[in-house]
Structure formats: C-alpha cells, structure tokens
C-alpha cells in the first residue's frame, strides 16, 4: 500500500470523525469540541495537501487526476476563517463536499495508483489552466460548504455564500474569492483561446459548464431576490456545478 493511499485514508477518517463530532455537538455542548473539530479539519486539509504534493511529485504532467482531487479536498476541508466568530462551524453538511472529494481521491489512489496525465496535456499553457481549474474547484468546494451551511442555517453564518455582500473577510471571503478566481480563470482561458485559436470557444470539455457556473454566480452576485437563502442557494448551485465540472474534466 502506497503512502498516498495511507495519507488519503487518514484524511478521510479525520473528516469522518469531524463530521461525527459536529453531529454530536448538536446534541451535547462539550467544552473544547469546537476547537477539536477545527483542529481535525485543518489536519485533514494538511494531510490532503501532502497527498496532492506526493501525487504530483516527479510526474511529467503538471496536474494528475489524484493531485487534482486531493487539491480540491485539501482546499475544502479546513474550517472557515471568520473574524470575530469562533463558533461558526456550520452544519455537518458543510464537511460533506470535502469528505466526498476525499473519498473519490481515496478510490482514485487505490484503483489508479500510477495516475495518468491531465486530459489536455502536451501544451504547457493548458497544463497551467488545468492547475488553475483544480484550485478553482477546491475554492468551489469550499464555497459550496459555506453556501450549504447558509442554506441550512442562514442566520448562523449569514452572508458567507453571496459574493459582494457584507464587509468582513468571512462575508466576502470564500464566495468572493471563488467568484473572483473563476472570473479570472474564465477570462484568461477565453483570451488564450482567442489569441491561440481565434475563437472564444474551442470545444474543450467542461467549457460550457464553467461558463454556466460563472453565469449562475453572476446572477447570485446581481442579487436575484432579496432572500439570503435564495442567494445562498444559487451560490451553492454554481459551486456544485463548478466542482462537478472540474472533477469530471480534470480529475
């Protein structure tokens, strides 16, 4: 059994434990439980980051499927960093995206230990775009966690999922950063396509999905409806689409 499989297995176990503790904290208030959950989520993120580094080390391709999955899960696993709010752990559902992607990474590590190159390999620019897509997917999974938490419990961590609303780093943070990253990724990819191929669309896999996710997020940013739950729902949909497209195309 390779180190990658062991580390991924540990990360999945850690995330499962964190989910269990979040569920348990709903029934009983235990001192220090919030800190324990936070530590476990950071630990899982660290382990998955090691998996991503191990999966990518020495490979000719810039992004391998396992590295892509591990990077997405590593970015999604840690808890939200919110100024002045230590108790906003969200619901157990907010850990689910990281847990699902980490589980996929575990299967990928167990079934395809050697991995194979990114679909669009051969062109260095497309390899960098692949890496940027993986990072966007990770941020998307993180935004999905926040948005799901807001949909389930809008009052607890209000405003996290809707970019452009609120002032604090938490409010603009995860959704704003993901939307900004997706905007830059879409813009750079389209300009590259226009420069190299002469067209905005080149028929690459997932192209329409990424554009769709960006448009849904833009609709959420424009504030369709005044309800925070509706905005969070749209953001969750956009983030889910982004993660699914990145996992399907790149991982």
């Amino acid at each position: 059994m390779s180190a990658v499989v062991i580390f991924t297995g540990f990360a999945c176990g850690t995330l499962l434990t964190a989910t269990g503790l979040v569920l348990w904290s709903g029934y009983r208030r235990v001192a220090g439980l919030t800190d324990a959950i936070r530590v476990l989520r950071w630990l899982a993120g660290g382990l998955l980051l090691i998996v991503a580094a191990l999966a990518g080390y020495g490979d000719r391709a810039l992004v391998t499927p396992l590295m892509c999955l591990a990077l997405i899960a590593a970015l999604a696993a840690p808890p939200e960093i919110r100024r002045g709010s230590r108790d906003c752990q969200g619901s157990p559902i907010s850990i689910v995206p990281a847990l699902l992607v980490a589980g996929l990474a575990l299967f990928s590590a167990a079934l395809r230990p050697a991995g194979f190159a990114w679909a669009g390999t051969g062109d260095r620019a497309s390899a960098w775009v692949g890496l940027a897509m993986a990072v966007c997917g990770g941020l998307g999974a993180r935004a999905l966690s926040a948005a799901l938490g807001d949909v389930v419990n809008p009052s607890a961590c209000a405003g996290a999922a809707a970019p452009g609303k609120g002032e604090g780093p938490g409010a603009r943070g995860v959704a704003g950063v993901t939307y900004a990253a997706l905007t830059v990724l879409m813009g750079v990819t389209a300009v590259l396509n226009l420069w190299q191929r002469g067209t905005v669309w080149v028929g690459a896999r997932g192209e329409g999905g990424l554009a769709g996710a960006w448009l849904i997020w833009s609709a959420a940013w424009l504030g369709l409806g005044r309800s925070p739950r509706a905005r969070a729902g749209l953001s969750a949909l956009a983030a889910l689409l982004l993660v699914v497209v990145v996992v399907a195309v790149g991982c």
């Binding site: 813009g187 300009v191 002469g198 369709l224």
Partner: protein
C-alpha cells in the same frame, strides 16, 4: 377629494428593463442552455466527417429519439434562436444598465438625499467613525450635521466596466458570427502554399524553418503534425516518370504525400505501385521512419522494400525513386473580425467584476441626534452590529 397616484407605464418599463433581477434571470437562462450542452453532445457544424461521427454516436445513445431531439434543436443549442435571443436580450439589458449606471456615476459625485429609515447606533462616536471610514477607503461628504459615506468612484465605475466588457464581448461574438469563418482539417506540407478557397488568404509551411506562415488577419492553430515527403521517379535513362495519386489524377513528375496513414502512388509508365507506410515509433512526428514498398503491377508482386527516414533514394529494377523530407501539419484557420473587441471586452469584464468584489457599492448617512448617532442607508455590519433599537 381622493388623491390618485397614476403609474407611468414607461417609468415602470424602464425600471423593469434596468432591474438586476431581469439581467440575473437572463444570465440564468444562458447558463441553463450551456449546462444542457454538457449532457447533450452538440453537433459539429464545420467538419462533415466529425458530423457523421457525431450522428452515429448520437443515434447509438438516444436511439429513435435522436430525430425528435434534433428537430427541437437540442443538439445545436448555442446556434438556436432561443439562445441567440437570450444573448440579444442580455446585450439590451447591458446597454440600458450602462446608460443608467453612467447617469448614476455622474449624479453620485455630489451628496444625495438620505434614503430609508433612520436607526439609532450605539457606542458610535461620529468623528472616530468618519476617520475610520476614510481610512478604509470610503469617501465622506457633508458637514457636522449630516455625513454621507460611500465608495465613489470605484464602486460605481466597476459595474460599468463589467457591463461594457460584457457588451464588447457580445459584439465580438456577433462580428465573428456575421463575418467570421473557420476552416478545420487543412493539411499542408513543408514548402507548400495553400490559398484558402473564397477568402484570398494563404498559409504556407516554410521548408527551412518548419514554421507556419500566413497572410495577416487570420489565426492558424496546429491540430497535428506528421511525416510527409515529396516523391519523384526516374527511369534508367534518367527520364522523369509521371506519378498518380488516384486513377483520375493526371500524372505529375513530383507529388507531395502527407503520411496521415498508408498512402499509395502509381507509376503507369513503369507499371509500378508504391506503398508508403509510416512505421509506429511512439509519437507520429516529422522524423517517423517510413516503409517504402515497390510492387510490380501486374501481377502485384512485392519487388523491393526499404525504410526511409528523413528522405533518401530507393532503387528498383530500372527505376530510381527519390524522397525529399516534407513533413505535414494539419491546421485550423480562423478569421475572426470580433477578436479584438472580444479580448478588450474580456479584460474590461474581469477588471470590472474584480473591482465590484473589492469595492462593493455601499452608501449610507450618519448624523448626530441628541446625545447619540443615527444612521440610514446601507450601513456596514460593523455599525449594524452596534445598532440599538
């Protein structure tokens, strides 16, 4: 006497047209169309071979429903009337929002009338708050009696940049659709110059530098490359013999062969058939070895064979074949008159969206009210949290 308020339908229509909700709904419509294309394979429009391949795959996947789905336009969503109508409506909305946003940008230079309900703010010291707001990049207007804080100019300018960027992008797509063209699967060999039919544009593959050169205004991208050669034949007297690629073709003294697969040539005067077969050696590239076989016709008997790499000669009975290395490239050529508007639009769109994220639009008013401070408008959470009843 009962006062009657008459609703101005034009004002209502204007408000509806510039509403964020309408633009958001249109964007969701475009997004829905694009998401459908993820599950339904879209029919290629330019390449007939790719279209035939797509059609057989679609029929295998969807069976009898294929023709119905095709009639409904589900396999050509981005070329459908509905999709184009949605894009046209998005463009209309962007124009109107640009006009409205420009007007608001100019009006926002000066202090506005406070709007909304005044709320008492606890633990707020007005001079301290104003200093903090200025430190955080807010513009403050007014005097000791009434302050206005907002993020003018960037908060008003960023959405305008995004809208104008989106509009330019759509104009670029429209120009490409109306006057642009795309040619896929062009095969060119080293030293050859191809004039694109009906366009007057040319593409050549330079034989010394192996670089593709083309007339200005078009974008050329490589799809694949591989071995190829110029082939000629002379008899024992040194007389040049004619070569034929097909039965209908006129014999020519030299012929260019792109080795995309096994290729055959005929030399009628010498009653020979030449087979050229690229040998698998990992990736197909210009240096791929080529197996040359010479058959006597009739009776179709193999006379001689040899592996040629990067050009050379092959002798057969009373026949000398000469091969000059001439690798081929398969290209796609695009003429897109909307390229530069689209690039400019994308840059503006990205800058505008990033600006709107960094400087969200926010305007509020603060004033002293007796012993405390009251505020109205889009108050920041920091002030909102300290809000009293």
């Amino acid at each position: 006497m009962i006062a009657q308020t008459t609703r101005d339908p034009w004002r209502s229509a204007w408000r509806f047209a510039i509403s964020r909700g309408l633009l958001a709904a249109l964007l969701l419509g475009v997004a829905a169309c694009l998401i459908i294309t993820l599950w339904l394979p879209q029919a290629p429009s330019a390449d007939p071979i790719a279209y035939a391949r797509w059609l057989s795959q679609a029929q295998a996947r969807f069976g009898n429903a294929t023709s119905t789905m095709r009639a409904l336009g589900l396999f050509a969503i981005t070329r459908s009337v509905v999709f184009r109508l949605l894009l046209a409506l998005v463009a209309d909305c962007l124009i109107l929002r640009l006009v409205e946003g420009g007007d608001r940008l100019l009006r926002s230079r000066e202090m506005a009338e406070p709007a909304g309900k005044w709320r008492a703010l606890e633990d707020v010291h007005l001079p301290g708050v104003m200093a903090e707001l200025q430190r955080r990049g807010y513009r403050t207007l007014g005097d000791a009696e009434l302050f206005q804080a907002d993020r003018w100019l960037w908060a008003e300018l960023s959405p305008l940049l995004a809208y104008s960027g989106g509009l330019l992008l759509l104009i670029g797509l429209l120009l490409a659709r109306l006057w642009g063209w795309q040619l896929d699967g062009l095969t060119i060999q080293s030293g050859e110059q191809v004039v694109l039919p009906g366009t007057g544009k040319w593409i050549t593959l330079d034989s010394s530098t192996r670089r593709v050169m083309h007339s200005p205004g078009i974008v050329v991208s490589g799809e694949e490359s591989g071995p190829g050669m110029w082939v000629s034949a002379v008899d024992s007297a040194g007389r040049s013999l004619g070569l034929q690629r097909t039965a209908e073709a006129e014999p020519v003294p030299q012929v260019a062969v792109a080795l995309t697969g096994d290729q055959y040539l005929a030399i009628p005067e010498a009653q020979r058939i030449i087979r050229l077969a690229p040998q698998p050696s990992g990736a197909m590239d210009a240096l791929t070895p080529v197996l040359v076989q010479v058959y006597r016709s009739p009776p179709g008997r193999l006379e001689t064979e040899s592996v040629v790499e990067g050009g050379g000669r092959l002798m057969a009975d009373g026949l000398r074949l000469e091969f000059i290395d001439a690798p081929y490239v398969r290209l796609a050529a695009v003429f897109n008159p909307g390229r530069w508007p689209a690039i400019a639009g994308l840059v503006l769109l990205v800058v505008g969206v990033l600006g709107a994220i960094v400087w969200p639009s926010r305007r509020f008013w603060l004033r002293e009210d007796g012993e405390g401070v009251v505020g109205t408008g889009d108050l920041p959470p920091a002030l909102g949290q300290a809000r009293g009843g």
